[in-house]
Structures are given as structure tokens and as C-alpha cells.
Symmetry: C2
Subunit: 355 residues, 2 copies
């Protein structure tokens, strides 16, 4: 077994989910992640913890979704499993990223709505989402598998305590800031983050991680932003997305490719026209865009903004975060731009001022 | 997809576990059974039921077992999953039947003991154990995969209602019988089954099935039996096992191959020297021994006797079934012998008298 798989498993068990003796752990993974499943079993065994592994398969889900033509019911047995667990490790390892592409979007959304108590339960535990390098993801990233493995483990096999410490300065400054401005090429956007909480994301819930993120005050966003990285929503890719905000809402929008998809996204609900997240990526091991948001949004020298709902954890007392059925991250390169907190430059040309 | 996989899934869902709208179903399967998992998802979707699939892997279990050097703890989350389910379908699909062979037997036994509440819970539901044809099982059967598939589906894709009806005569006669005698070659063995229940096994819990079985009165077994088929216990194969019983207990034993394994088995506990089951196989589609008890014990024109514990369902009120930590089935060919109930021949030369 590639020693990096074993190291990945150790990080997930020790750092991300902090597994203790006697813990009951849910692993969810597909056959393509078999080696990581085996490595996790060993690490959990060494710590006196007990795994139960769910078989993840887009192909099986598709078969169920397409055959099921009635109202969905909540799988009480799956809910009970998560209620009784201490930690959950979800491994992305799809053999085909298009496996659900002929399932109507509204059926997927309806199932998500009915199954929501399971998601809520899982997120109330020590949980982590991670990636095993498969050919499908390598292909999406335009990389051979061996090169994709190097990329994935480069981003994951890090000293996460050091990352957390390094990000503390940024987290404290963003927590204290009232306004944020991002200027880069055709982008010049300002927003209030007053009363919102900045989170130091250092691999507890996402592996890899490497970002500090908060929520904008929904009505405060002003300016224009050009997202120079491709943007994917429900399997539809958009490129060159440009948005102009007034009083928090998108008032002008265009895309160089697939503008209809952008229009559909913005029409989802009122909240889909406003921002729910501002994130600043710090993981410089992620040096390329791989069309996988788990990695892309953590890329060093980038900022991401999400149309749609805010995370509760970002929303301070007395504040209101944006609400929506969607949360779509969009990434812009700041390596030739700057980020300001309360008028003070904190990153210029991709380098933080304290670096 | 091989249409036989879809038919197998339909039989499991409709006949074996009688799945209804809204049912929560646990599937347990390994990657080698992926196509059956997909087919089951479709069948369950069509019936408005919801699966959760557990990832079975001997290799992962081995990694956990070998790393875990402390007392096992009951996985409460797995127990909760089974408590909240309506039906459970377990699919054997190991890619390597030797996957656990370097785990000490006492650790496996200890884990089974600690996890027993899960087994008890599962067996209280509509449950079925079945087989997906993999190369590992084909190799064990000394067959190419294609030929093994034909064998497996030949045994499984049957009209199980007709099998149940066909077996009713045998079940009723065995239920009514006080004594059973089996004579075949060097075998001549007699036992009381008075007050015990005969069960018509027609694919509800084992797929394939095709047997009628009961429990001997523990102290009643007398005579000699030669098991002409290989016998496997904890991965150890024995051949040419001969046992002589007096007042229910083995008083003489020998094996042509691996007699030490037989001695170890008989020394497990007091109950390991007595019989817990008498079964009569009826599935003539199973025309060869494949070293897989799920199939072997159902073989037409055979009888199997199990050393060790009796099934509760066989033990009539006021009766006591044999108790032991083991239950080891041993098979003998009756195609050139005869079976008698209360002195009356009911099968001769492999043919039941009512056939």
C-alpha cells in the first residue's frame, strides 16, 4: 500500500475526527477507495475504535432514484446509525462523476430535503469530508492518476497544527474587521462582515482544508466581480462569470460560457442573488484548479464568494445570514490583486502582509 | 448487466424479504457484488423502499481485528442501524476467502461474542443471506467464473413457491416422525426427533435454499456415520470424517485428512460432541460440492448433520436442543442409501417415495 494512504488515514483519525478509545465511527466510501478503507480500519483498530462502513455508489443511488417514483421517506435506520455514532468520515471516491447526470435535479433536491435530518445529525458529530484519488477525479482535473495522487497528497499530507497556527493571524484580523474589499483585475467588490464570525478551517471538517471564511452582511455587498475560474453548479460548467452587486443583490450578470445556467442559478430564490460566504484560501500546495470544490476553494492566493446560504457558524448573534436553497462557490485569483480589511491592505500580490 | 443478476435481486426483495413500501432495508455487500447492489437499489426503489448498504470486506475486517489489541466494544451505531431496519440482505462476495486466515480464531470468536446483539437483532428482522458469484468462490469450487455463475444462478433462480409446496410433504412427515435413520454405505445412524420442529426452508433466509431440517434429541443419537464430502471448520478442511455415537455423544472419531482439526473441533465444549441439526437437502440444481455450506447443505439427495448447537426454532416446547459454541455441518450422500422415519422408508436411492 502507498504509504501516503496510511498517512492520510492517520490524519483523518487523529487530527480531523480526534478518535478516542471506544468511539463508534461511520466511514462512507466507494470501492475505488478500498485501500483507504482498509487503512482506516487499521488506524481505528489501533485506537480501540469500531468502524461501520457505508458503501457509497453514485451508480447505485441513481438506480434507486430513477426507480423510485413516489414520495421519498426518511431512512430511519440510517438516521439511527448516525445518531449513535461518535464520528463520521466521508470519502469521495466516485468512479464516474457523471453517475447522477440523468436524474432530474428536482428529485435530487427533494431527496436531500427529506434526508436532511441525517445530514444535520452527521454534522453534529465529529465529521470530516475527504478525497481519495480516483481516475474519475484525475480525469476531471486533466491529470494522469499518478500526477493527481501527488497533487491530492501534497494538499492533504501537511502539518495541520502548523496550518492552524499560521491561519490564526488571518482569522483574528477577519474576525475583528468591519469591511472587506477585494481588488483584482476587473474585480472591485466591498462588503460588510460586521458582527460575523471568521472561522479558521484547518482540516477538522474538510481534508484538505486551508482557508479562513466568514459570511457577508447580506445587503452590504457592492461592486463588480469577475470569476476567472470555471464554476460548476449541478454538473453545469460556467466560465467568465461577471456579477455586479448593489445593496447586496446581483443587478447585472453575464457569463462567457453557459449564461443560461447562471440565469437558472440566480433565479433559484431571492437568496441565490446574494452572497452567503467570503473565504480566503491559504493552501499553496493546491496550485491548480481541479474542478473539485473541496480543493479549489482552499487554493492559496484566491478568494471565494458563495452565492446562496450562509453557514450558521459564521453568523454572529443579532446578525442575519443569507438564506437560500443553494450555496455555490465561485473563485477569483488574487495573486495579482489585493485584499483590504477596513481599508488596510492585508494581502497584496498573493502575499499576506505579515508573511 | 446479466439479466440473472436482476432476477436474483427481484427474488431477494419479493420472495426472501417481502419488501413493502416505506421499508428501510440494510444491504451488506462487498465491491465484487457491485452489480447486485445496483440491481437491489433499483428493485427497492421500484417498491418505494430505502436501502442503506454496508461495505463488507474481509480485508478491512482483518486490518481492524489485527490492530485492535484491547477488549472489543459493541458498535452501538451498527446495532441502532439494525434495530431501525425492516429487512436485511447479506450478500457474500468475498474477493479472497482466506482474508481472515491470519487472525487468531479466539479473537474472531471473541468479536462474535461481543457483537452478538447485532446478530440477534438482524435475525429478528426479515433477513436473507445470499451469494454473488465471485472469482474467489468460483476458485474454491474449482470452476471457471462463467461456469460458477451458471451453477449459482441455477440454484437460485427457481420458483420458490413451488419449492416450498414440494417440500411440504417432507416437512409434515419429519414433523410427525419420532425417529430418523439414515443408511448409506458405511453410515448407519439413528436418532430421535420427537417433539422437535421440522422447518421447510424455501429461500426466506438462505438464498439458495432447498432443505427441511430439524434438531435431534441430544442424547438419542446412536450409530456410525461416514461423511464422504470434505468438511470445513475455521478454514481447516477435513476429509473422510467418521464418527461413532453412543447415547448422543461421539465416542470414536477419525479422519482421513486433518484429524487434528477434527479433534480440536470435538474438544471445543461438551456440545461439540453432539448433534444440533439434521437436514435433508432437496435442491437438485446443486449438483456438485463447492465448499460453500450455503449451497452444499442444500444439495439434493444428501443429508447433513451438524455437530454443535441446535437452532431455537427447531426445539419444541419441553424439549432441550443441543448447546455449543460451534455449529459445523457435515454432509453425506444418500443417492445410494435410504432415509427412514419411524421405520418407514421415505427416501431410497435419492428419490422420495412420493416423487
Amino acid at each position: 500500500m502507498d504509504a501516503r494512504i496510511e498517512e492520510h488515514a492517520r490524519i483523518l483519525v487523529d487530527w480531523s475526527t480526534n478518535v478516542q478509545r471506544g468511539d463508534n465511527v461511520v466511514i462512507a466510501a466507494g470501492p475505488d477507495a478500498h485501500e483507504l478503507v482498509v487503512a482506516l480500519h487499521r488506524e481505528l483498530g489501533e485506537r480501540g475504535a469500531t468502524p461501520t462502513t457505508l458503501y457509497s455508489s453514485g451508480e447505485a443511488s441513481r438506480a434507486h432514484l430513477r426507480a423510485h417514483d413516489d414520495d421519498f421517506t426518511l431512512p430511519e435506520h440510517t438516521l439511527a446509525l448516525y445518531e449513535a455514532c461518535d464520528a463520521a468520515i466521508h470519502v469521495r471516491s466516485d468512479p464516474n462523476l457523471a453517475a447522477l447526470n440523468d436524474v432530474p435535479g428536482e428529485r435530487l433536491a427533494e431527496r436531500s430535503r427529506v434526508y436532511k435530518p441525517i445530514t444535520v445529525e452527521r454534522l453534529s458529530k465529529r465529521w470530516c469530508l475527504t478525497q481519495h484519488p480516483t481516475n474519475a477525479h484525475a480525469q476531471k482535473a486533466d491529470l494522469p492518476l499518478a500526477a493527481y495522487r501527488d497533487f491530492v497528497y501534497g494538499a492533504i499530507l501537511r502539518d495541520w497544527k502548523a496550518v492552524e497556527d499560521d491561519q490564526a493571524e488571518l482569522q483574528q484580523r477577519l474576525e475583528a474587521a468591519s469591511t472587506v474589499r477585494v481588488v483584482a483585475g476587473e474585480t472591485d467588490i466591498r462588503m460588510s462582515v460586521d458582527g460575523m464570525h471568521a472561522i479558521n478551517s484547518s482540516g477538522r471538517h474538510n481534508m484538505p482544508s486551508g482557508e479562513v471564511f466568514t459570511a457577508p452582511v447580506p445587503d452590504s455587498v457592492e461592486g463588480t466581480v469577475l470569476f476567472d475560474k470555471p464554476l460548476i453548479h449541478q454538473g453545469r460548467e460556467m466560465e467568465g462569470v461577471q456579477l455586479r452587486f448593489e445593496e447586496g443583490a446581483v443587478v447585472e450578470s453575464s457569463a462567457e460560457r453557459n449564461e443560461e445556467a447562471l440565469d437558472d442559478l440566480l433565479a433559484t430564490d431571492d437568496g441565490a442573488r446574494r452572497l452567503g460566504e467570503l473565504g480566503i484560501g491559504t493552501n499553496r500546495e493546491i496550485d491548480r484548479f481541479t474542478k473539485n470544490m473541496l480543493f479549489d476553494e482552499k487554493m492559496g492566493e484566491t478568494v471565494h464568494l458563495a452565492l446562496g446560504r450562509a453557514y450558521d457558524a459564521n453568523v454572529g448573534e443579532g446578525q442575519t445570514g443569507n438564506d437560500s436553497a443553494v450555496h455555490v462557490d465561485m473563485i477569483l485569483d488574487t495573486s495579482a490583486g489585493r485584499i483590504e480589511f477596513d481599508g488596510e491592505v492585508i494581502q497584496e500580490g498573493g502575499t499576506f502582509v505579515w508573511e
